[in-house]
Symmetry: C2
């Protein structure tokens, strides 16, 4: 046997670039990318450094997948459902209508078949994907007029995209693709009747409460929304094994902080929105039922024409249908009891 | 300026011992400690290794706090509420009656004041604590006879401990401290009328369904139960900074896997229990209301006599009371709708 040379235990010097779909105006999202870079640098004793660029600085916000595929940048932060146009199966890496909640999504990815299936899906694009946070259940958006019944959705112009847009169009909505910077003026002018974005923390920053009064819940198209880290497969494979481990650890840690950030701060943001005149409303039951039915019709159509979609769909939905009933028992009954008990105690 | 010597970037060789309250018979719990050790070793390029010992091998299961305090071992895995007898404030690091659910607990620890307050609490014991997983909402336990009303709890001998035991004793229950190995025979012989342990995955392994038919939910004394990593403060401070970062990252990752493991597998375990004759039941409303009232009385008594408890209690409960109402809106309404829609679709 030959003794390993001393430098085998050294941390090699590596510098990467990272581009994001987000920017500093969305602190929980962009902050997770910052946390990821910080932890990689700290845990490698300063030897592995990643320079982070917000959307548009070196790569457009929705160009993250291509930029990482092509090794324009070594890695990126984005949400896979933005690439619905390339392949709708990417939505399972983020959110699909009436899909998994945050904990169920993590369970499917890490202890079910989720990560394995997503790695297979991303492999031909030369991307190794890692979960890096979740927004939690999103809100159903801002509306200039109340939605009292399904009929009130007919002809409504709404800023939304991807899979959700397809379902909503079956329900009579006219979906519009509008970049974040144009949302506020379009809603103010009435070019848009409604906008869905994220939840209280991020929506408050856009100022939507000033131009639309009604804030609906839940966002049934995003029962949770997972954010992803993409790493180019060629550069990933060249990394020392212990730097590969660091990427798993730091992306998971950064993602945990993202969800904790939303969970800790959404409540305060919602209280401020309500104090500023926002009317909080639940979607009427007929809207929810029509959305559930339309989603199931659309799923069937996609499965019939796309075997790759069908393979992931069946795995994901079997996990959902097996897991959701358990969540209603201990978790659901506990949350419901405590919510009501605290509300009654306040009276 | 002087150039840093080459070995400044090397990973020094370090070997630690870790003791656990758990053992291989509890795979999600003990598995998290195994995952932690594995990731520390991998991400340090094999240079930082931690040898894990199950409960009883070098330290008794409930001796983890003392063993880490005294540096008998460098680190340990346990749940802080086992040390209720030393200081009831430790319960806030794990679970308290009608406390935070899993995501709320992580949010309080990481984005609220939780970790800071817990670090202050542990400092005089020479321990640096890290969150390392959560079981989710636990079940309310196994009962030989049905609990149809609060009166059915009077005189019931039940295996439970700590804070929950105090609340239950105010409700007429006779709490018993019994080691895990004696639970099954005591319940079989009728020395015990009831047992609370964890949830379907762990309870199934103990075989409790063979000797008690009624399985109640929710475990209102454990709306979530956080597991902790303890590290001796002296050895922690002597670690290179990048190894300290690795401990934060690896404990968070291992904890994420623990919760995902429970979330992915509890549903299957519950289906098997029901197939084996278990009757699943919700606690009656008068039991829940009496438990909520008794918990609040006990909290007030503890706050009145213990300023340290009061300080943490007030911070924790302000976080709960601010956050729970938000969780009922998007998350709660989504989970409730989907649970009911899937149940109806099955019919």
């Amino acid at each position: 046997a030959v003794a390993a040379p001393v430098f085998a235990q050294a941390n090699p010097k590596i510098s990467w670039k990272m581009t994001s779909t987000y920017g500093p105006s969305l602190p929980p999202l962009f902050g997770a990318a910052q946390t990821f870079c910080k932890m990689i640098e700290e845990a490698s004793d300063g030897q592995f450094s990643i320079r982070l660029y917000p959307a548009g600085e070196i790569v457009p916000g929705y160009g993250v997948m291509d930029a990482v595929s092509n090794n324009t940048v070594e890695c990126g932060q984005t949400a896979s459902y933005y690439y619905y146009g390339k392949d709708p199966t990417f939505c399972f890496d983020t959110a699909v209508p009436f899909g998994l909640n945050t904990r169920q999504m993590t369970a499917w990815m890490e202890q079910g078949d989720g990560l394995k299936l997503m790695r297979e899906l991303f492999a031909p694009r030369h991307i190794v994907n890692f979960p890096m946070g979740n927004t939690g259940t999103q809100m159903g958006g801002w509306y200039r007029k109340p939605i009292n019944t399904l009929a009130d959705l007919k002809g409504l112009t709404m800023r939304t995209a991807g899979f959700a847009g397809e379902v909503l169009s079956r329900m009579g909505v006219v979906p519009q693709q509008i970049p974040p910077g144009d949302i506020y003026p379009s809603l103010e002018k009435g070019t848009l009747d409604a906008v869905e974005f994220v939840g209280p923390v991020d929506d408050e920053k856009l100022g939507l409460f000033k131009v639309a009064k009604y804030y609906y819940y839940p966002g049934w198209w995003e029962g949770s929304a997972q954010v992803s880290l993409y790493v180019n497969d060629g550069v990933y494979e060249k990394l020392p094994k212990h730097y590969q481990s660091l990427i798993s650890l730091a992306s998971s840690y950064a993602g945990m902080q993202m969800t904790a950030n939303y969970d800790a701060h959404n409540s305060e943001a919602l209280r401020r929105l309500i104090a500023n005149g926002t009317t909080l409303k639940a979607f009427p039951r007929d809207v929810m039922d029509a959305a559930f039915a339309a989603s199931n019709v659309l799923y069937k159509e996609f499965c019939d024409k796309d075997a790759g979609f069908k393979k992931v769909f069946e795995n994901y939905m079997a996990f959902r249908d097996g897991t959701v009933p358990w969540f209603r028992i201990a978790e659901g009954s506990y949350d419901n009891y405590l919510g009501i008990a605290l509300a009654n105690a306040k009276k």
